[in-house]
Amino acid sequence: MKDQIIITMGREHGSGGHYIADMIARALGIKLYDKDSIESEIVSEGYSEELIRRMDEKPVNFFASRRIGRFSNSLEVNVAEKTFDMIRAKAASGESFLLIGRCGEQVLKDDPHRISLFIGGDPHAKLCRVMEKKGLSAEEAIEEIRTVDHQRKAYHNYYCEMKWGDARAYDLTVKSDVLGMEGTAEMLIRYIRAFQEKD
């Protein structure tokens, strides 16, 4: 039985990934690292809050950035690398946690305690969820889903070997609408517990 468990979760906008992550983290009694908690941790290390909020999980502007070896002038890249270092340090400290986004499956690729998940969803189900949750019209919701997923994809694909959402990059990819949020969370909890018990 593993004494440390690290779950990394990629998600499509509107798939309910965050809601599912929250249920899993509570059921397993581990900390959930999402946008807000990650950003506040980096801010507590001396970075400007405004900058972190602006640059976190943002794609790189190719025309405004340049890389020389391990150095890059891009603020997006520097914030991302700071985030990755923080994630690695947390994993190395022995902490168990669930991480949403931030290329977790790539950053902790070689960690034996890591299990990686990707939550997708039926386009119509995602659209309905975004419209309902944010009170948007269908056109606005379609535009929001397109923009957010485009950003996540560009961010992910810049730092990772495998493409965002490609089933080969994750241990398990699921569509949240097949079993519903609760059903998906329960199934994933069983899957994670089985992984924990495996030597």
Binding site: E45, G46, Y47, S48, L51, F62, F63, A64, S65, R66, R67, I68, G69, F71, S72, N73, L75, N78, V79, E81, K82
Partner: protein, 454 residues
Amino acid sequence: MLAQVIAICIFLGMFLLIILDQFERHIITLVSGALVLILVFGVCMHSPAAIWEALNLRSFFTASFWYGAGEESTAGINWSTILFIAGMMIMVEGLGKAGFFRWLCLSLAKLVHYHVVPLLICFMCLSAVLSMFIDSITVVLFLATVTLELAQTMKFDPVPMILSEIFCANLGGAATMCGDPPNIIIGTSLGYTFFDFIENTGAIVAVCFAAVAVYFWLCFRKELLREERANGGPVVCPEPSSAITDRRAFGASAAVFLLAVVLLVTHAQTGLTVACIGVIVAALTLLVMALSHGRATVLEVIRGVDYKTLLFFIGLFVSVCGLEKTGVLEIIARFITNISGGHVATIVVIILWLSAVTSAFVDNIPFAATMIPVIRSIAAVEGMDVGVLAWALSLGTDLGGNATPIGASANVVGTSVSAKGGYPIGWGRYCKYCVPATILVMAVSTVCLFLRYL
């Protein structure tokens, strides 16, 4: 015609991919170089001689490659540049391991009793002087790291100091033949010596440095003084001696560095070429490391060499050779001559400012490598001395790169080190201070070129 079109397409594709930064630079130039050899020289021109000339391997077997004043490289891979840069990389690796750069920075900080404004001036001078002999990336890497360390202890914002260090590193690099890769390529391609650069670009850079030192002092002095006063004056920082990891290795590495400086300054008199100096410096550094640290450290130093940059150069030279051999660069040279109406002053201004504006946004090394055959053709057509065009090209490429955070390698390294230390420098803050400074040095350079040569 087809060979020209293919050579242009390969070159533009290479440039675009370098800008997009999706693949490593050396992979891009090596693939471009291979395409030039196969498609342009092989398939279109059916010329094994052109392939052989582009690889330029025979230069190793000529006496003038190793010894003889006024070495002048032919088309193809400029092996002098590559050997020299490799040698300097090994030397710098040895110096870094011995703690030389950190010791130098901390000694200067102690010399000015850890007062922030004098430290700003000192670090600008140190950055410019070191960059005259060592690549600006290394200089900025060490200076910015020590600046961050001092800023933490002395509680000041390190960004103004890092910006001025970056700027002065690029400025210092423009002063000598070995300060910046474009200068090494220009020097070895056109047969100039270290002193030719000192007398020409060096003199102009000295004037630019004075102007920039005053500019940055005016920009930052109030802010830095306010921070120092708020923290109750100067504080005590780490002792310089704490930087030295091994006294014997430190002394020997510093001696090799001094020898490198002497060899470079006197290479016109001794007849040793920069390729030869690169090999001597590398061999001595490795010997010092072997004697002081053992064989394992020697391997570590060799592994520390940025071989990707060397491969980048090799691919680049072959790609540029494709343009040169197919006559594309001659067409560009004729175009510049035509739009200037054959007026020398206009040609110089075009070369200077075109180089500066281009280098502000794209890598200045491919640009300089491409422009050398162009200025050679212009000088031949116009019957003018290629020197003034070479100095304009050198100043434009080296100084223009200061304007943006992506204009030169030192800018990328400096802003990255600052960001990793918790002080991100965005385009806005960088350009606010460095664009006016770049315009200032470019204006000074233009005036100096006119007064001296036209």
